[in-house]
């Protein structure tokens, strides 16, 4: 399919391929981080179910792609599968979220964690011929002719990923500033006080939770298309923890911080993996240690919950104020 025409003609060197890979993974993790930031940062809910929604989205996109491959033009099918993934993940969010959102703090965390584990176990238990069971499920390339070299589709995905992240981040930024967004922030800060001011606490929470689930599904779908494969093992609690690390690193509640932290941590991880040797072997240990140290010393993130431009502005002012 000559969908992305001239773009596909560019051949990438090994170094460029590596960067393309990092950028696509960054956009996947940035979508996850934006999802988590919405529910846990702005929404003030403590959810640990991201990996469940990501799995639902990834499998939904994979299933739709397999089911309709060839009957629709590639790009349309691709977009359709992303939309489908978001809808199915949001439905999953409704199933668990609507009854559970009245739970307090860490009870909600445990209920959503239980949900994530149920999703993973359920997928593992599916028959091999349906969704691949614990072995995983192959996702055919919807956008390009499979005979094309792998480098080309990566470049295409860099563009798609960046566009999606930009779109989602912009929409979220505006949504948080809208009247409903402010209602959500009020509920997140103090539910009782907000309801005394006439804000119904249930609606903004449910909306944020569903949108968060849909975004996690979108990230899962993008990852599924990029990797060409989904497997239950990819959607373990470790995924949610990694995303949490990104969000906390960037500062809970900071949209640009999420994206920046996704890039920094994904690039760091890939660099470690590429360097190999002892450091790469201790990667998971370092991840965990970083999370603990972050919680102890910078619980509000590297930027302290500010947006990137605010942090830069404050730093600049601090520099100027200092006598030369």
């Amino acid at each position: 399919m000559a969908t992305a025409g001239p773009l596909l003609a560019i051949a990438l060197s090994g170094e460029q391929l590596w960067w393309a890979n990092v950028l696509v993974l960054t956009s996947v993790y940035a979508l996850f981080a934006l999802s988590l930031n919405l529910t846990n940062g702005h929404g003030g809910m403590f959810s640990l179910g991201l990996h469940g929604f990501a799995a639902i989205g990834g499998y939904a996109a994979a299933w739709l792609t397999v089911a309709t491959l060839g009957s629709l033009p590639g790009p349309l099918l691709f977009l359709l599968s992303l939309g489908f993934a978001m809808v199915v993940a949001a439905v999953g969010g409704a199933v668990i979220g609507i009854p559970c959102l009245r739970l307090r703090g860490d009870y909600l965390a445990i209920a959503t964690l239980g949900f994530g584990e149920i999703v993973r176990k359920a997928i593992e238990n599916t028959p091999v011929h349906a969704l691949g069971g614990s072995l995983g499920y192959h996702v055919p390339r919807a956008m390009i002719d499979p005979s094309d070299s792998r480098s080309d589709f990566r470049l295409l995905f860099v563009g798609i990923g960046a566009a999606l992240v930009l779109l989602v981040a912009t929409v979220l930024r505006n949504a948080v500033r809208s009247s409903r967004g402010r209602a959500m922030l009020a509920v997140a800060q103090d539910e009782t006080a907000a309801s005394l001011l006439g804000v119904d606490p249930a609606r903004p929470k449910i909306t944020a939770f569903l949108i968060g689930a849909a975004l996690a599904g979108l990230g899962g779908a993008l990852a599924a298309h990029f990797e060409g494969r989904v497997a239950p093992a990819d959607f373990s609690l470790m995924l949610t923890v990694k995303v949490f690390l990104i969000v906390v690193f960037g500062g809970l509640g900071s949209i640009s911080g999420c994206v920046l932290a996704a890039f920094v941590l994904v690039a760091a991880e890939q660099l470690l993996t590429r360097t190999g040797g002892a450091v790469a072997e201790w990667k998971e240990v370092l991840y965990a240690l970083l999370l603990i140290l972050l919680m102890i010393f910078r619980p509000r993130g590297i930027l302290g919950g500010r947006e990137v431009h605010e942090a830069v502005r404050d730093a600049w002012r601090g520099l100027r104020r200092r006598p030369a």
Binding site: C100, A109, A122, N125, E284, M295
Partner: protein, 361 residues
């Protein structure tokens, strides 16, 4: 149903041991100690180390004694290791974030859990190791023609190691020429009958251990000074501090006690199922948390009741479903447990024996 019920009770007793640590820590500082499963894992490894290295057979004690003594020492080592680790983790990781809010505390706990898992993988490898089973060794001169029970033929040097037996002859099978031949070749010393305890017997021991521990805990919490302090801190930490109760010491003691009981659970779990690995703590830990919530988090009798109940449900419900015609029902037992968790959280978040907390404005 009866075998499944027994199996469920045995598994439930293990859950109860682990759930006790969750519930005590939650009761005192409202922290879901996510790393508790890893304390259990470290305890299990400490027990494994003792069982794999301690060679009591050399002392030539009368037969059931070596196994009893070695398991006693293993339990002691497991408890001390898990308890000490719990205290260290509390001091280094949890205490600095105690006032930083619950999300920070829970994330720290998740971080500690991952840290311990991956540290154990890096230090000892991810592959499961065979857990030394409670086995009884009988020296034999002549073997009967038909195996009287499951017969594990091992060389003398292997007998105290965790190595797989060189040969297994199932109960009722003839001990043929090949088996005899094999024994002569592997047996640098003398052939041994190794009788493995049936799982029901092991689970009976676990239940027995729970029956011993429950009154001990009751005594510690209700009848000692430290127990009184623990109850005071769990009711109102700042008021307790104003009364001169050393909060930090009480919290550390609670972690220690939770770790000690968890270490027992770890050895019990691994000895029952025959293997230990760095990720073994995660799933039983999560299940034990379900059990603690089921029984009412913060309540010690609740943890025991919830553990036993969860074990039975997890074992009997899939059995009934299978009887009803659903063939792979047992693959879904974890799903059953987590679904139960969500239902309990929704319907009765304070659990069976807990008390509901009213939110004050």
């Amino acid at each position: 149903v009866i075998p499944y019920l027994v199996n469920g009770l045995g598994l439930g007793a293990v859950y109860a041991f682990i759930a006790l640590g969750y519930t005590m820590v939650y009761g005192i500082i409202q922290l879901i100690n996510f790393a508790h499963g890893e304390f259990v894992m470290v305890g299990a490894f400490a027990g494994w180390f003792v069982l794999a290295t301690l060679d009591l057979d050399a002392l030539a004690l009368p037969q059931p004694l070596p196994i009893l003594v070695s398991f006693f020492v293993a339990l002691l080592a497991a408890s001390l290791a898990a308890g000490t680790l719990a205290v260290v983790v509390e001091r280094l990781a949890y205490r600095p974030v105690r006032k930083a809010g619950r999300i920070a505390a829970l994330l720290t706990a998740v971080g500690v859990s991952l840290l311990l898992q991956n540290l154990a993988i890096r230090l000892g490898g991810a592959a499961p190791r065979a857990y030394p089973e409670p086995r009884v060794f009988h020296e034999v001169d002549a073997l009967p023609a038909v195996a009287p029970a499951n017969l594990y033929v091992v060389a003398r040097d292997d007998a105290t190691d965790d190595a797989e037996p060189a040969l297994v002859v199932r109960e009722g099978q003839p001990i043929d020429q090949a088996a005899r031949e094999r024994m002569r070749t592997t047996g640098e010393g003398r052939p041994y009958h190794v009788q493995s305890l049936p799982r029901e017997a092991k689970q009976g021991f676990v239940l027995l251990a729970l029956a011993v521990w429950a009154p001990v805990l009751w005594f510690l919490v209700k009848r000692t000074r430290m127990g009184k302090a623990m109850r005071a801190v769990s009711q109102d930490m700042s008021a307790a501090a104003l009364m001169g109760i050393p909060i930090d010491r009480v919290v550390a003691a609670t972690f220690f006690l939770g770790g000690v009981v968890g270490g027992v659970g770890g050895v019990a779990y691994c000895a029952t199922y025959g293997s230990v690995d760095p990720l073994m703590g995660f799933l039983p830990g999560l299940k034990a948390f379900v059990a603690a919530v089921l029984g009412g988090i913060g309540s010690i009798p609740g943890a025991i009741l919830g553990g036993l109940l969860l074990g039975v449900i997890e074992s009997v419900v899939p059995y009934l479903l299978r009887e009803a015609g659903w063939h792979d029902a047992f693959a879904w037992k974890d799903v059953v447990a987590f679904a139960l968790l969500i239902v309990v959280l929704l319907v009765r978040p304070w659990g069976l024996l807990g008390r509901p907390i009213r939110e004050k404005v």
